[in-house]
Amino acid sequence: MGNKAEVWQGTLALMVLKTLERTGPLHGYGIARQIERTSADVLSVNYGTLYPALLKLEQEGYITSEWGLSESNRKARYYTLTRAGRKQIDKETQEWEQMTAILARFLNPKEGLA
């Protein structure tokens, strides 16, 4: 609803992992909602694109899934972060921080291009 930016494919995976780290086991709809909220409604995730991304994360072993019951007693598939997933979060966070630090120096020319 309204004009929200599209999301990059690769960052979606990191966002999913980070969300699961914060919330604990959650179903697909919940993850989508959380991502929307965390991005302060700037990002609009076409919810459907989440599922192939979830599948890829599961294939690579960063998350696991199992069927469970939601609060409203509805059957839903819950995704949980694995230990490998946690390590991947740390790794990718580090990479992102490095990249933004480097970019920052280019985008802020006052800070010493010697």
Partner: protein, 907 residues
């Protein structure tokens, strides 16, 4: 690591797809429900809630598609899909599939069998690991030019065995001939005396039993007979002939030359070393001792395996050092030029070379590769045919392909589908072909001559299978690419607009198919011309003038048991003058008795004297010539063999003078040494330094005989020729009978036995049969070649027929219009035939050019036939045009029968 896991999970995702699809549906359904609940809670109506939830989720089908792509391996899945579809399409056209599979199977089967033979005999003849580390060692002399002797002498072998050497294993072998007593007399068997580790170095195991242990060797007397009883390993052929293939042969003993040998093993039938199939047995032996005082023969062959890490050059360098230890006693006899004395300035040494060079048989090589080429041509023709047919079918599927394209298939996808179908066809052809291969293999191995040296079995192994797969892939790609490209180029709008399968899309394909037919015809022509040339060559060879009259002529080799003629006090194994004299006397007796026997037209004999260097009067460069002593007078060789005299006169006993001997030379020697001149009266002498120098004068010239080398002259067998003759106890006997020769064999044997009972029974051979046998292999080979050419012709004819039929079917409406507008049936016939003739003509033109260019490769195979022989070319063209026109006939006639009304109404 993670990515690997990802790929593995994707492979797992190929299975159990329905269950997973259901799960996905459930998950998406539950997602929607949760969203709807949320929406309801935030106050939307049920309808609005549902709508919003669906919009937010996105297009379900594309989600599912993206999910499925992620879940499995799309490439693999589409491949399986294409394969199944292709299989269905092939099943729907059984005629086409059957023909295509059969032709491909024939091509793949035969070529794989051929390749197996080439592999087993020529490319990888030695089994086991690292065959290139096996080397053979021989003596060589450095005397300006390097001259090798092909073997080592006994003293040289001792030096090698003493070491140190760069070899981890060293084995040697030597020719051994022993006599087997049979009912008819003594049979001579050729075998090999080997070091006990001989079979270990080759790495070949016997069929049953075992090979020799390290300590199982015997000493041999210098006559070549073992001094005690010992073990023996039999060849497959000997085992069959002596023991009838009895598996209980181990431990049995056979008697050869008076000694008893216990059979401990039998080698497989493919182990034919070192004399091809003539090697009948192997006996373990001590390194031979040569009596001092006599020049040893370099008749021991040495085989060695390089130590790991040693290169060829290092081994040669080390052997060069070892070679310094070779003394005069190791100088071989008769190795270099006879008559030349050993020059002390020459240095003797060892030379190594890879043992693989022993296995090349250039004749066989040429034959096999030629055949392989022919099969390759056949495959190409078959491919062109199948490409044609596939193109035609692809055109018929234009609508289906257009629909696929409209549904989103890209060009690559369409092309891939058609290509997969072609590869499937090729794969099927290959599978059926591999079933044919064992059959073809049996037939191919009969092409290998008996005397070819072989060590390993010829069978379909990894290499051959790899070759088969390669051939399949190549053929599949060759005939699949064109239709695939055509499918990929489907133009949507036009294809969908077409009502039915006729229309403009046909002509582009039609031109392409026309080109393919031209190619087919050209290839067939080349194949036919090649086969025609081979036929001509063989016919010339068969009609070859042998130089003598083989009718009712028999030949045999007589070996006298000279050991028996030794006076008792000479035991050093050398022949003495007295034993030589006895030999001469015995031969003379035999000749007299035979000459007196009834029913014989004549007998004669031939005794080798030896080769040497001779100086021609008036020429400076010495030539190497061989000398043969032959019977004269009553036993005149030329009269008995009926060799025509071309100039001068025949020999008489008076020509055996010591000062100026009269000789008769053969035609090619006359042409070679005195081109353009009359050779009668020319003189030559042996080179100085060979003891007495002999001078000769040519008194006559006779025709060449096919089995004697060209640089040979005849001297009369006289005392003057005697002293040089060696060995004295051997001669070749010719007998011409008045009637059917084989009836006289018992009589001849009786006469010979009456003179010398302990002699080996000579084997009489019919000269006519020997001539036939020498061409047997060629004839078999030719038969196969002709069969292939015929098959190729058939396939081409089918191709032409197919294209023309299709073209007529395509043009039926057009023909209907023409006929409705007044064209006669004859004109329609002309139309179709004209198209056919254009195709054939184009093919013949291209084919002739290619034939001129390619048949030059056959030059080495052809006997007295030029590669551009016009008869073969014309014949080939004639056959191709004839068959091609025949193939055009049916479609052309069909064109004339078209009824204009039905044609016009045809959709």
């Amino acid at each position: 690591m993670r990515r690997l896991r990802g790929w593995m999970m994707r492979i797992a995702g190929l299975f159990n797809r329905e269950a997973k699809d259901r799960e996905l549906n459930e998950e998406l359904g539950s997602h929607l429900q949760l969203h709807i609940e949320d929406n309801l809670r935030s106050g939307m109506t049920l309808e609005e809630a549902q709508r919003q939830a669906k919009i937010q989720l996105g297009a379900i089908e594309s989600i599912k598609e993206a999910y499925r792509d992620q879940r499995g391996l799309p490439v693999l899945e589409t491949l399986i899909q294409d394969l199944r579809f292709g299989a269905r399409m092939l099943a729907k056209a059984p005629g086409f599939t059957a023909i295509a599979v059969l032709t491909l199977a024939l091509g793949v089967g035969v070529s794989t069998a051929l390749y197996s033979v080439v592999n087993g005999v020529l490319l990888h003849p030695i089994p086991g690991a690292e065959p290139d580390r096996l080397v053979s060692i021989e003596l060589c002399a450095y005397d300006g030019a390097e001259r090798r002797s092909g073997g080592v002498t006994a003293p040289a072998l001792d030096i090698l065995l003493a070491g140190p050497t760069p070899f981890s294993q060293l084995a040697w072998w030597r020719n051994l001939e022993l006599d087997l007593r049979t009912e008819e007399g003594l049979d001579e068997l050729t075998g090999t005396a080997v070091s006990p580790n001989f079979f270990d170095v080759w790495g070949v195991l016997p069929v049953f039993g075992r090979t020799f242990a390290r300590d199982e060797k015997t000493t041999f007397s210098s006559e070549g007979v073992p001094e005690g009883d010992t073990k023996i390993v039999l060849s497959h052929t000997l085992w069959r002939s002596l023991f009838g293939g009895d598996p209980e042969v181990l431990g049995k003993s056979i008697e050869l030359s008076g000694r008893h040998f216990t059979v401990i093993g039998v080698m497989p039938s493919y182990f034919r070393f070192p004399w091809g199939s003539h090697t009948k047995f192997w006996v373990p032996a001590e390194p031979p001792r040569w009596p001092t005082g006599r020049s040893p023969d370099a008749n021991i062959s040495v085989l060695a395996r390089l130590k790991t890490g040693t290169t060829f050059q290092q081994a040669q360098a080390l052997l060069d050092v070892t070679g310094w230890r070779l003394g005069l006693e190791a100088v071989p006899n008769k190795t270099w030029v006879v008559g030349k004395e050993w020059n002390p300035k020459k240095r003797l040494g060892f030379a190594v070379q890879p043992v693989l060079s022993m296995f090349g048989d250039t004749d066989l090589q040429r034959t096999l590769f030629c055949f392989l080429g022919a099969v390759g041509f056949f495959l190409l023709i078959a491919c062109a045919n199948i490409a044609n047919l596939t193109l035609a079918r692809t055109e018929q599927r234009q609508q289906e392909l257009a629909v696929r394209a409209a549904l989103g298939a890209g060009r690559g996808r369409l092309a891939r589908q058609v290509l997969t179908e072609s590869l499937l066809l090729a794969g099927l052809g290959g599978l059926v072909g591999l079933c044919l291969t064992p059959l073809c293999l049996g037939v191919m191995t009969s092409l290998i001559p008996q005397q070819t040296v072989r060590i390993r079995a010829v069978g379909v192994d990894g290499h051959a299978l790899g070759f088969a797969v390669l051939v399949c892939l190549a053929t599949g790609l060759i005939f699949g690419l064109a239709p695939a490209r055509h499918a990929g180029g489907t133009r949507l709008a036009e294809a969908l607009k077409q009502a039915g399968s006729r229309g403009t899309a046909g002509t582009a394909g039609g031109r392409y198919r026309g080109k393919l037919v031209v190619l087919e015809v050209a290839l067939t022509l080349v194949l036919l011309v090649g086969a025609g040339l081979m036929v001509q060559s063989l016919v010339r060879m068969l009609r070859l003038n042998p130089g003598f009259d083989p009718k009712n002529l028999m030949v045999t080799k007589l070996f006298l048991p000279w050991q028996r003629y030794q006076p008792d006090n000479t035991s050093n194994g050398s022949r003495s003058a007295s034993s030589d004299a006895t030999c001469d006397a015995v031969f003379a007796q035999i000749h007299d008795r035979l000459a007196a026997a009834p029913g014989l037209e004549g007998i004669s004999f031939l005794r080798p004297v030896g080769r040497g260097e001779y100086l021609i009067e008036g020429q400076s460069a010495p030539v190497e010539l061989g000398c043969l002593a032959c019977g004269v007078g009553a036993t005149d060789l030329f009269r008995v063999q009926r060799i025509p005299l071309l100039a001068g006169r025949l020999l008489t006993t008076g020509d055996g003078r010591t000062d100026l001997g009269g000789v008769v030379i053969n035609e090619s020697m006359a042409r070679h040494l005195w081109p353009g001149q009359n050779a009668v009266g020319k003189r030559f002498r042996s080179t100085p330094g060979a003891g007495d120098s002999e001078a000769y004068e040519v008194v006559g010239v006779v025709a060449d005989t096919y089995d004697r080398p060209s640089g040979v002259f005849y001297v009369p067998d006289s005392p003057a020729a005697h002293w040089k003759r060696s060995p004295r106890y051997f001669e070749t006997l010719y007998v011409r009978t008045k009637a059917e020769p084989s009836r006289f064999i018992p009589l001849l044997n009786k006469e010979i036995k009456a003179v010398e009972p302990s002699m080996r029974a000579p084997e009489f051979g019919l000269c006519s049969r020997a001539l036939e046998e020498s061409t047997q292999g060629q004839r078999t080979y030719l038969a196969y070649l002709m069969a292939f050419a015929a098959a190729a012709l058939l396939v081409s004819a089918i191709g032409i027929y197919g294209v023309l039929s299709y073209s007529v079917a395509q043009r039926t409406p057009e023909i209907g219009i023409r006929m409705a507008l007044g064209a006669g049936r004859g004109k329609m016939l002309g139309l179709v035939l004209g198209e056919g003739v254009r195709l054939i003509g184009g093919g013949v033109a291209v084919g002739l050019l290619a034939a001129f260019w390619l048949t030059r490769l056959l030059r080495s195979q052809l006997y007295e036939v030029s590669p551009t022989d016009p008869a073969a070319l014309l014949c080939g063209v004639f056959v191709v045009v004839g068959v091609g026109l025949l193939a055009c006939l049916a479609p052309a006639v069909r064109a004339t029968r078209i009824d204009p009304m039905t044609a016009l109404r045809q959709p």
